[in-house]
Subunit: 337 residues, 2 copies
């Protein structure tokens, strides 16, 4: 049986063919698990959950769990439920994020909160988080539970950190990195670390997979940040300039602000701190970014973390899994072009 | 070292003296754990968490975990972290509830969302949930993890159920009971069940404690519902009629609606379904409830579940713990007078 992937997904999978084909059979079981675990007699739960889950996310995180399990020659069943748990944690975060950001759109569809209200987004997120933990408990690995529950805490910490730093144009690159390490990279790292943990591999192998995941996650987020100013609406599933309109401080802004003139800084303060956005401001923002090569350098920074991710994996013997994981790094970075 | 309880807490503890004195030493350690586990370098997290945690909740749920552990002669340390985890799960639910209900007040103070925004309430709730799971993992009992993670899912399901049934005046008593079994009683049941589980007691003892907790939880919620129409602002830490103003369908309304005349039903539809509340409507609601003995019978129903809770414990030998747990049932019910 093949993987159940909606049509738009097939296009998005371009660039990670090795990964998709490596985890093909397992991913079918993960999708089955995801489907059955969103089931509830309370009808609103599968409605809201499936709205988001079936809307064609890449399911990159659960694929990473499956691929690192394969990399470590894991022979059990636990990776299926852990991969589903990872996707549920991610989906719960998206649901809660939409409430926090007051987003209208998610993955090219109306955000769940626009259709069912903030209440449902908060509560269905909580339900998915509960189900994620239930699945981890069923797998029975305390080490994996430790990794994933720690990640849940760190992710929430990262989101609060972002909230506290919100609209602060003087945010340093380091402070911004701390936010995305927590809010994005922690789940990538955990998704990759549970593979070797299930397979009872050495601390060194666990650390290698964790490091691969963390650095891939940072690269992924930085490319996302660049795409928000440079991608096309169709490819992204969201509008160009969403971060700008929401007053989010991301690396392209951090670099532009620091490299900019005093009048440019006034522009960022007015638009992002005070939220006074006028017609043509997005174009001005893009012009300033071009002038300071902020998008190119954001991608360059992403390449640096991508290189770290690749090197982290080098201690493993060559294999189909390793080559798929390395290709995934290239994919994450090349999305920006 | 004594228990760290704020002043107003001492008054509220009246009626559960046996429980408080039984768990005195352990509760000091739980409070310490709670304090240290809300710590984070992200300053907003301890601020928001402690706003709620230090605002004088009864901490009834963690006391139940400690007391059932004592009932089962548990000799380890795991009950401390599980009790703290139970309180964190409860606090996370309160934070998310405030967002869902759009509440202004909680425990006589401004709700966290009024001070820090919905965003912080959602995210700090997520952080506490993450910390709760981390503590459970540290205790290392997969059985306890199973019980508490299942409860987390059921609680969220119950909240969504309540959302779906919201403002429906034709809700049956059974449907309402299903909501509070999930949203309130599940955590009471789990808090009580992990005690015997840690102590490796028989399935029968585990089931007894679970049943005690579930029925106590239902009784507790029903009394809360009655208090919302009959308590005083000072004793409750919230205003009389909050449920009425929020259009919540609770047992006093369910009974009044079913027993009422057509014009009374029109009144409930206008005020609770349509939310058209005018001056004097709360007094009218109280008058209708008095006429149909809705509050007395809500308390009578609570007494029934209280009796089930007491009987569930009867298989245990007499002990200080048992007598404290039985007294707690009386306390929960007598709050309404």
């Amino acid at each position: 049986m093949g993987v159940v992937i909606p049509l738009e997904e097939k296009t998005k999978a371009a660039g990670v063919e090795k990964l998709v084909s490596l985890v093909d059979g397992d991913m079918g079981r993960v999708n089955q698990t995801i489907l059955s675990r969103t089931g509830s007699e309370v009808a609103m739960i599968p409605e809201v959950a499936n709205h988001l889950i079936s809307s064609g996310g890449k399911r990159l995180r659960p694929m990473l769990t499956l691929a690192t399990a394969a990399l470590c020659s894991y022979r059990g069943d636990g990776h299926i439920k852990l991969a589903a748990a990872v996707e549920f944690m991610h989906t719960a975060t998206l649901l809660h994020d939409d409430v926090v950001d007051e987003s209208d759109m998610r993955r090219g569809k109306l955000a769940a909160r626009m259709l069912w209200g903030n209440e449902a987004s908060v509560l269905v997120g909580d339900f998915l988080l509960g189900q994620a933990f239930k699945m981890m408990v069923e797998v029975g690995s305390l080490a994996a539970l430790d990794i994933l529950s720690s990640a849940a805490t760190v992710i929430a910490e990262g989101e609060v950190m972002q909230l506290a730093a919100a609209k602060d144009t003087t945010t340093t690159e380091d402070a911004y990195l701390a936010v995305i390490r927590a809010k994005t990279a922690a789940l990538f790292a955990a998704a990759c670390e549970v593979g070797p943990v299930l397979a009872n591999r050495s601390k060194a192998d666990q650390a290698a997979c964790e490091s691969y995941g963390a650095n891939l996650g940072i690269a992924f987020q930085l490319i996302d940040d660049a795409l928000d100013y440079g991608g096309t609406s169709a490819a992204l599933g969201k509008n160009v300039g969403d971060d700008f309109r929401e007053g989010k401080i991301t690396l392209p802004v951090v670099l532009s602000f620091r490299r900019g003139s005093e009048s440019e800084r006034d522009f960022w303060r007015r638009t992002l701190e005070k939220g006074e956005i006028r017609d043509g401001d997005l174009e001005t923002a893009l012009g300033i970014m071009r002038k300071h090569r902020a998008l190119e350098d954001t991608i360059e920074r992403a390449r640096h973390y991508g290189a770290m991710a690749r090197d982290a994996l080098e201690i493993f013997e060559n294999s189909a899994a390793k080559s798929a994981l390395l290709e995934t790094v290239d994919f994450c970075i090349s999305r920006a072009h």
